[in-house]
Amino acid sequence: MVKKILLMGNPNVGKSVIFSRLTGVKVIAANYPGTTVEFCRGCIGSGASKVDVIDAPGTYSLEPTSPAEKVAVALLERAIEEKDTIIVNIIDATNLERNLNLTLQLLKKDVPVVVALNLWDEAKHIGISIDAEALQSILGIPVVSTVAITGEGIKELVTHLANAKTGEYHYVDEERWHEIGRIVDKVQVIKHKHHTIGERLGDLTIHPWTGIPIAVASLFLLFFVIRFIGEGLITYITDPFFDSLWAPVMMRISVLLGADSLLHKIIIGQLIDGSIDFGESFGILTTGLYVPFGAVLPYILAFYFVLSVLEDSGYLPRLAILLDNALHAIGLHGMAIVPMFLACGCNVPGVMATRILETKRERFIAATLMSISIPCVAQTAMIFGLLGKYGARGLLPVFVTLFVVWLITGNLLRLLVRGESPEIFTEIPAYRLPHFPTLMKKLWMRIYSFLREAVPFVLLGVLIVNLLYALGAINAAGRAIGPLTTWLFGLPFEAVGALLMGFLRKDLAVGMLAPLDLTMKQLIIASVVLTMSFPCIATFMVLLRELGITGMIKAGAIMLCAALLVGGTLNLIL
């Protein structure tokens, strides 16, 4: 009785896209090896014929070399044991030979297999033609050609699931590549084609003389695109909406509630000079809505749009190669830029993505570093909002400091953390033009997860802050810790509340600085200390899971010491 379908294949062959096509469950896919680091579950059919579908991380062979690959092999082993699973082995048709290596290993296992020959269109495009029927009769299992991104062949794949068979292709292990060579000779014909423009462009972005200037230029361009879209949305859409449509509604409610009631404090907050200030009023329906929707959402949209284009184009692994040497300085290799990039959006997926790194040492360094010195896009948006009025004079000190902290802490961790850091070893995928509908779906998934997971926390945070103020708890904490923060960071007692709230939501914590009338220097120090001091609760939970309790304690101690040291230093030198 078949209860499960396990999708297996080399990294970056389109497993996650096929998974989404089969189950309708949306998962993040991208054009670099190692997008999926944990298995994902969905189902097809209904009632008695309902079958679970599991998307496993990619693996090149059944001898795993990274935690993500270990997850895949463990899933396979369970499938063999439970005898209720069909394996759908997804093959990249543009790389038949290398992909068959895993297929032949799978055929030795006692488990039924169906092969999906994916990226069929791309293979044709570059002049590779594969005789799927011949491959099917050689391997003795169903072979279906698919183009997952457009959905071509998915129906056939589903109908062929019933014909899945345990492999009957016999060979000796030592002869595996020899066998693969023989199979490939029989089923594949490659027509020689001239270098495409894509390939020429690809070569330019990877040669150091041309690649490094291109990388620098693209990173600047990306930054300006993010800032342009983010600021544009705020100036022309969210700010006008809040100021001219939402503010009058709030004023009505304010009059109804009466300015002195507790309910007014919680829902509307303080009136500033008799009117609502969305940055400073601090009620649930004023600042509580403005922070996530007015200030942060535009940047979430801008950042994830750019990140998704970057991911799907295939540029990230090339950037990883160019930056490989720089990352050696902090005990990592080039591919570590993938988790670092993701962390700029949100540290939670950033920490998860450290699973593509091979050793425990690298994962500890990468996870600790990103929680110390990479603010999530929500926090960055709020910092832009707060310090943007000072221009580069206000913003540069924050981000330059964080970058220097990243470099120095990374260097120290490289020297102090024992263990190995292997070298970069990665496949470089072909450039692909991002598929627009898929890109939009991915963007929506990320925005949706922000709306679902972050917005309630912000609203809850505003409620808690107001209640704690009303109870006098924040002032009490201010009096207790305040002398230390004043002496060390030059921050007033009132800033303690913001520093503590950083544990719940960093964007909200930065927002809490707005009503305090801080100087530019104080805002810079508070922004840096808030980024470095302690991860927000969501990041804390995922760090705890990925690093274990001792790892988390070590990382936490490093964060706290670094924050005190850097905050204090900034207070002295600025």
Binding site: S61, I206, A320, D324, E423, E427
Partner: protein, 76 residues
């Protein structure tokens, strides 16, 4: 004609892998990506300061750390 490591190969030149000077772990990792004695390999590019070496094997481009690349011996 001679045997040199991947790092010494000239950019754009092609050779045939003759041996991999390493333990089982290294050989298995390279093998899984299709790099093993007997295959043809083209060096696409190197990087500054002993950075990774980029090669093409069949239709796949692969980046290999410098240290690893010194252990891949090629006949050109």
């Amino acid at each position: 004609m001679g045997r040199i490591s991947l790092t010494e190969m000239e950019e754009g030149s092609e050779g045939s892998v003759t041996s991999i000077e390493g333990g089982h772990g290294l050989r298995a990792r390279l093998d899984a990506m299709g790099i093993r004695p007997g295959v043809n390999i083209t060096k696409v590019s190197g990087q500054f300061m002993r950075g990774p070496i980029i090669v093409r094997v069949g239709t796949t481009q692969i980046a290999i750390g410098f240290g690893m690349a010194t252990r891949i011996i090629v006949e050109v």
